[in-house]
Amino acid sequence: MPIERDARLREVQSWGDFFRFAIDAPALGSGAKPGQFVMVKVSEGTVPLLRRPLGIHDAGPGGIELFFKVAGQGTELLARKKPGDRLDIIGPLGKGFTVGATPRGQRAFLVGGGRGIAPLFFLARELVKAGARPVVFYGGRTVADIPLRDRFEKAGFELLASTDDGSFGFAGFVTELAGRELAKEKPAAVYACGPDPMMKALAAVTSKHGVPAELSLESVMGCGVGACWGCVHRIRNGSGDGWVKICEEGPVFPGERVIWP
């Protein structure tokens, strides 16, 4: 987990509030696994003080890609960076998705809501490499919230889109869409990232059908390295329930272990 102080922003693509950064950072790209994240310094000064956690959207020997939505001060500052700018990034951090949970030849459902789609592109590529057949479910409030459709399709991934307002694809929650497909034919595994309500609903569906699910959780993070205990989520343990550090034991947890408020 190096500190890459000389990462270079190579390419920026944006759709409204959504941004995709291609970053030259060999040290980060090589070791990365899907579902892991990085901590990005967004300000040179003390406002905001902390780094921002962002999932690894894609990775290779040359570096990594990020995909983020402007949510506030930090991502707003990050969005102003221009190609050629230096970035200060720590990672890869955390434990990722279990690619191996989907045997060769079998189907895996990847369910992403809004910015939660970010880590699923990297995951889809790794699943294909492993001989699995990813099906991507991509949902948003409206069509503007699902800008990565083309990217997934160009990459040759099967993608089903949904919007709450019906402005594109299936009209309704992405969890409904995924639920229907899942009822038709069970996938070997479901991998998901998105807002808590979506994850909660999905956890219900998958457990009902007895399909193993892996959920990537979010929280405000202090250190990202397991030192501050600031990023906890309620998780079922052998020993019982407890506040577990998302940055260290997560961000990905088995659906049945996640306890929702």
């Binding site: 003390t46 003080l49 390295v225 501050c228 990023c231």
Partner: protein, 310 residues
């Protein structure tokens, strides 16, 4: 390094403890130390203070536990941790080999628990000193803690000193009218040093939900925002106490650390900065060394308490 390439002596002697350099990491911001091994060489630090330890493992507070404020961070972790037994069994063995001072931050729900922690740890090897955390604002209601009164401070420190076979650094709260009074009470009770400051009791409000932004309602403010008040308190205390003062509060750079030393701190702790840069504490040591070299300061200890106020 105790002596830099250009021959600057960074070592400091607290009397009860010699440090390679004056820079420690602050409790709760450096985990159990091991989390940071990928990012820095622990043996380049003067030492580190591990996360606050209770006798029993603790749940901590419900999230959200962190919220940022301008140049600051409010935390309400609530001292979630593994408890002394797990610490002694799983963590301490890994720290024992290190050539750096390992200081344990001792906590307790009441005086008896503080005592129990010390008695238990006294039986363990590989600990340089105890930092007695009588000032955590995140455990009792509205930040209540022993460090808010000279009396409770005196009684607890006295009891711990009587029991402990190791030096005790008493960590003080800034949420008081006269931190000098509290520090003097700790000194009279026999503390070997005082550390200040812990966090400032604070509140952040979410306008949209009209709820506190932290699960625990109040939390403790740290970071650059508090540095000017922390520096003032260190100066007040250091100019009156005989025992050494360990200063902290918003230290991000070597300059910050040197300012605390000039104000009277014999050593410093780097806290929140380690979140921003996991290797911040070592960077502080390097910047401190470079400043001394550039300013012909032969030994960094010579600048302690040299603030000219007239």
């Amino acid at each position: 390094m105790a002596v830099t390439a250009k021959g600057v002596d960074l070592s400091v002697d607290l009397g009860f403890l010699k440090l390679r350099n004056p820079v420690l990491t602050a409790s709760g911001t450096f985990g159990y130390g091991l989390e940071f091994e990928p990012y820095l060489d622990l043996e380049k630090l003067g030492g580190f203070v591990v996360k606050g330890l209770y006798y029993k493992a603790r749940e901590g507070n419900p999230p959200p536990r962190l919220v940022e404020t301008p140049s600051g961070l409010i935390n309400a972790i609530g001292l979630q941790g593994v408890g002394v037994e797990a610490f002694a069994a799983k963590v301490l063995p890994k720290l024992r080999g290190l050539k750096t001072a390992v200081i344990v931050n001792v906590c307790g729900a009441d005086d008896d628990e503080y005592l129990a922690v010390v008695e238990f740890l006294d039986k363990q090897e590989g600990i340089a000193a105890y930092e007695l955390n009588i000032s955590c604002p995140n455990v009792k209601k509205e930040g209540a803690c022993p460090a808010l009164s000279p009396r409770t401070t005196f009684d607890l420190v006295k009891r711990i000193k009587a029991a402990s076979r190791r030096p005790v650094i008493t960590k003080l709260s800034p949420n008081v009218t006269s931190i000098v009074e509290i520090a003097q009470a700790a000194e009279e009770a026999g503390t070997d040093a005082v550390a200040l400051v812990n966090t400032f009791l604070a509140l952040a409000v979410d306008l949209e939900t009209r709820r506190p932004k932290l699960g625990n309602v109040y939390g403790g403010l740290s970071g650059p925002a508090i540095k000017p008040v922390a520096l003032r308190m260190v100066h007040q205390v250091a100019s009156r106490l005989k025992v050494p003062v360990v200063g902290m509060g918003g230290i991000m750079t070597g300059t910050d650390a040197l300012e605390f030393m000039i104000a009277g701190a014999a050593a410093v702790e780097v806290g929140t900065a380690s979140f921003v840069d996991p290797d911040a504490a070592v960077r502080v040591v390097d910047e401190m060394a470079r400043w001394c070299e550039a300013h012909g300061v032969a030994a960094v200890r010579d600048i302690v308490g040299t603030l000219k106020t007239s």
